[in-house]
Symmetry: C2
Subunit: 334 residues, 2 copies
């Protein structure tokens, strides 16, 4: 067997996205916090699906999107996550492997069906998610292959995993295996509501166990319970080796001790669906980081990957990101 070697291994919820266009009134009528991710159970998923317009299914899952992005950029990527042995699970497995991502987590053969996220894209291109985790909740420490984690420069962990005890145990096992192998540990805070649910644990992680943190403005403010971005920036600065903080159209700020970079958002041809913007920013950043780029360039690659993903429906790249990156970096005036 050839020796395993990865740039990034990601661990997260294996999810198929079910995307529809919707107006604000529908999102409000369903009681979903706009722009956020709400967890729902199987029967809620069924009744919400009944209310939903015609949809399209595209493989998703936050960390899975990131790893698909890393692979599309030319990085060596692996993913650990749980589906069931059903049709949606087969779609997830096909798509992530077809994207070039190593994916060997065995599917569950019993229990709930594969997870799905019902995503309502409003005319302002914002996405509001209602997620039925399904089989993703069956992910446990046994699914974490320590050899794969040890073989990856960075282990990338999804904050969403904290929503279920077994998945959280998988998270902890992976972080420890990465640490033991002298590898880097990276965390994304995932969602402001997720931060609210697990604030103390996330603060402990960020301050003691994480080398590279990803968060958007709402998430980092929620973590430190501060009202504005600058206060959050000052708070995280003292705690984390590297933090990449995203701010939608206002770009991102990358912090590492005394080093601070302000990175503009990449030019955008058209804004269709913001699903996956943060996931693909992380993909670009991690790709640059694992090949030794400067932190400023990592942020720029993140911005370019994010701009591609929000120009169409779905959170998986529609173009070869490696070629796209080359084109963008070569663009006149850039």
């Amino acid at each position: 067997m050839p020796e395993l070697s990865f740039d990034v291994v990601g661990i997260g919820n294996a999810i198929v996205d079910v995307l529809t266009q919707a107006d604000d009134a529908l999102v409000e009528a369903q009681g979903l916090p706009k722009g956020g991710m709400t967890l729902i159970d199987g029967s809620q998923a069924e009744s919400l699906y009944d209310e939903m317009g015609p949809a399209r299914e595209i493989s998703g899952g936050s960390a899975a999107n990131t790893l698909a992005g890393v692979a599309s950029l030319g990085g060596r990527a692996a993913f650990i996550g749980k589906v069931r042995n059903d049709q949606l699970g087969g779609i997830f497995r096909h798509d992530i492997r077809a994207a070039g991502v190593h994916f060997e987590t065995p599917p569950a053969t019993s229990g709930p069906p594969s997870g799905r996220s019902l995503i309502f894209v409003t005319p302002d291109a914002q996405r509001t998610m209602a997620t039925f985790l399904g089989a993703a909740t069956e992910l446990g420490p046994d699914d974490v292959d320590a050899a794969v984690v040890a073989a990856a420069k960075v282990t990338y962990l999804e904050g969403y995993l904290f929503d279920r005890p077994a998945a959280k145990a998988a998270f902890v096992k992976a972080a420890e295996a990465a640490r033991a192998a002298g590898r880097k540990v990276s965390l994304t805070l995932s969602d402001p509501f997720c931060v609210e649910r697990h604030r103390a644990a996330f603060r402990d992680l960020v301050e003691h166990h994480v080398d590279l943190l990803f968060a958007n403005e709402q998430e980092i403010c929620a973590l430190y319970e501060v009202p504005d971005f600058d206060a959050a920036l000052q708070a995280v600065r003292n705690h984390c080796d590297v933090a990449a903080l995203t701010r939608s159209a206002q770009g991102s700020v990358v912090l590492a001790g005394d080093e601070v970079h302000v990175v503009d958002a990449a030019p955008l041809v058209r804004l269709v669906d913001t699903t996956g913007a943060g996931d693909l920013y992380a993909a670009g950043f991690l790709f640059g980081y694992t090949r030794g780029d400067s932190l400023y360039d990592c942020g720029r690659i993140g911005a370019i990957a994010a701009a591609e993903i929000i120009s169409h429906f779905g959170a998986r790249p529609e173009v070869d990101l490696a070629r796209h990156l080359e084109d963008c970096m070569a663009a006149p005036g850039d």
Copy 2:
């Protein structure tokens, strides 16, 4: 129970499309005739899916697309077609009902899984399809509700149904029920290879049983075994009450006895994926036809609906076609 009343009832293969972007080399390597539809079995579907890049799933099926289009335009639409009681079947059922189409065909509870069409969209926006009919082959005469057929001004039949004996029997039952109720019967030839497989039967249908025929240039030439469009036009003219013949970017020609209309293609913002162009032309035409528009206006509405569908991935409308039609009809210079 309220009295049933429909503008159009369609009968066809219930299919979920699995769309991917591919280059010409891949399509050629798989031995698929470019731009056509090839029937494959379950094991071929599996191995072809393995070769396929990341994909998205969008409900499809030729007649089903047409009926979704009729509903989006504001027409009263019904569909008869067979899925299994599996996840893909649930997606199909959800999407067509969410589009506003009456759909009550009970799913199969045993036998092959729901049908799917693996669709390769090449950079020229052409689509090449490999279809595993699956549960769609279980459609039979018992699934045809004669009350629904009698309640529809037009019964729209997919030529593809001729590929399986039971589906063909359903087709014949529906045509006879429509005829018995004094309703119109419409047929789409579906695909030039489908015409080759069933030429004699299709000619008999067109000449004796069909009021309104849809065909593209390749299909009508295949039906009459003539080398060019004009020859096909002269041949069909003597046989069919109304024929609407589509020619991609060259628009369409509508024939009814001595009446002949040449209809331009609608202006196109961008060409992404031609999947569903013919299906949505038929939707627009049938919508106009059942509300009593002139044949020329029927062709124009068909062209507008087709232009919308080819501006994005997938063969179901992404906008409210009724509003889109209003906008297009009101456009200056039109």
